[in-house]
Amino acid sequence: MLQTNKSKQLVAYAVWEPILRTDDARSSRKATTLLPDSRVRHFWTATQDLGELFQPAIDLTTEPAWDVYLVYPRGVEWDGQGPPRPAYFMHQLAGRLPEDRMLDGDILAERIQALTK
């Protein structure tokens, strides 16, 4: 998606969380090589608290949010303790979030393209 959309009006935040046993700060730094785009800012959080904070934003009830991709248009602000609901989102959590929102890079790219025009 980042390769197809070169807009300078797009910024991405990759928030790396400790979900699996092997996840730690060191592995998060290695993982940054998967997203070498200069528009991506990388963060590491040592707990799953942030994932829990994002649960209400996408109506996820089973576990802290992870493997999710949330799109916010210009002007949206994060005012309260929890993040705002995204204009669109996709995920890789089969069975836990709507199937029609399973990650499809092309569709996600189209949605973002529409917002960055």
Binding site: L20, F43, A46, P83
Partner: protein, 349 residues
Amino acid sequence: MKHRFTIGSALLAIVASACCWLPLLLIGLGASAVGIGAAIAPFRPYLLGLATILLAIGFYVSYRPSRTACSADGACAVPRRRWLESLGRGGLWLSALLLLSSMLFPKYGSGLVRVAPAANPVETDALVLEIEGMTCAGCEPAVEAALARVPGVARVEASFDKQQAIVSVSRGSILPRLALSTAVGTLGFQLVSVARAEPSHELPLAGHWVGDVPLGEGRTPTLAMDLDRMGSRWVGEFDVEAFGVLDYPVHVQIAEQHVTLGFSAADAEFQGTLQGDKMSGTIDFDGRKVEVEFRRTGNAVFSAQFLQLEAAADDSTRVQSLSANGEELRARFNADRGMTRLVMLLAPS
């Protein structure tokens, strides 16, 4: 007209050998060749051939009998400017010399510039760098100059024939492997792998190890791993080709002869004893234990990609740590309110 042939052949001769001298020149100026030399190399024979043709034409035009009518006493219908002719012929011979030099540069060029050995040699480890892309012996000094600039490198010897470079590094130094890859990359070449040139007797665990793992039901895949010490840390990667597992990290702990190896990607752990070139023990697969014996078959060889990942792992500037409530992310999110934002929550593994 003959001067055009002179100039043309001289320029072509210079360009034809650019694959060899250009990287050296750019490194000297602190710039990057970015593959320019390598891009020109395939055309070198054609450029040299064209330069030769132009030079031959230039010599013919210059030395052929003059068509200008002259009387016996030297008076000519069109005055001959002998000084200009001499200058032109001198230029031709200079171009011929330049062309010959360009043809021979790959042979002798590597002897012109060599990295001088350290004045006060210290104890060093030798690493073998497998490099792809060197097109002639003239590339050797450029490779040596680029690698010599990497912090911790004491001595470099590049070989076009072997497509490799031997790098001596201060023993125990934390050598940034990524810097080696970057240095080679600025010349348009690619660092393929890094390996110890000789076994380290101080690091009996270092090397390439192979063992068959009996999983039952007729399955006995081979597990191969490379272990070595980089600075104060052990680094390792393992492969199980039968399962398509390549270059996954190994976590190493060693206390005298007792070794613990963590294969976290496979959710397995080995505990055993090191005895020379053998390591015997058990692998625990989530509660199920199997006996395994690893044999050392050579020196550790790490792919450039693996080393880049290790270098990234050591780079603390790559990620910003967040507090539990994500206050820093919220601040960033709001600061970027004039843009479309994609928030990705991901697990590194």
